[in-house]
Subunit: 146 residues, 2 copies
Amino acid sequence: MTQNQNFDLTEFLPYLLNQAAEEASLGFQKIYKDRYGMLRSEWRVLFHLGIFGRLTATEIGSKAKVHKTKISRAVQRLTDRRFVKRARSDVDRRVEWLELTPSGQAAYEDLQAVAKAYEDKLRMQLTDEDAEFLKGMLKRLSMPAP
Amino acid sequence: MTQNQNFDLTEFLPYLLNQAAEEASLGFQKIYKDRYGMLRSEWRVLFHLGIFGRLTATEIGSKAKVHKTKISRAVQRLTDRRFVKRARSDVDRRVEWLELTPSGQAAYEDLQAVAKAYEDKLRMQLTDEDAEFLKGMLKRLSMPAP
DNA sequence: TGGTAATAGTTGATTTTGTAACTAACAAGT
DNA sequence: ACTTGTTAGTTACAAAATCAACTATTACCA
């Protein structure tokens, strides 16, 4: 009897969350990857700038909880592709203001529409009520434990 | 007016799921990493063997939805550390049966207890009812969309 | 039997991430 | 002004993930 009945992986919350997150990301990932050759950190930067307009790398990092080296490299690639424009601040010459270029804006609008459609498709698996409830719990779980 | 009010990242399910999954994994990750120098794919293999007893690499891969190269390398490292023992099948000499060694079993039992305690801690943020509901939805989201 | 396809698992090359150390600029107190 | 500390962002190197190609074995079937 080597079998262990005392632990069920499929009830372990971190595991379940990871499996669901991975599955839920697949379809959208395929699109931003195929269509724009973007990585996850890149569409996130793109979306932050699309939504909030003008941000510094640090601001994006703290909003998205992504490490600054990842942001740095994502911004690098996005500027290489002319999706993002950087401008040193006059007030504090350490910081760089980031903004979408017109083609960055176009890519954002395209992907944002895709994201909306994708979200709708995902939510067809859930009732509206369930989805709201789920989101509430995910938001709670997303903040550092007390 | 460059601000876009039409999309809210914090309501986008794949994003929310990822944030929650990452946060929920952090504490447990720290332990299996610090205590055993393991990667995520490694504790998953360890747990599968701890729970199910004897499996092939392919079986683990399909249960956990992990690519075979990741499994292969995880198994390699686990056998290097004498946590896992491999044995070629006599029936089909392509397949290898994987099993925990006694020290692998000990590591599993230790980490399994940690996982339980960690799960309890996480669930303190939720009522039992909510947690069950959440798990149900995560399981549904974990399967490929219809 | 012989030939083609399928499966289990590994390996190598490339890409991406993680970690730590680094530069440059500013802040605060003395 | 001068030291010390902090912050913004980059870079170098090591670790890990990805993807394709590979070996070895078995399955199918004419």
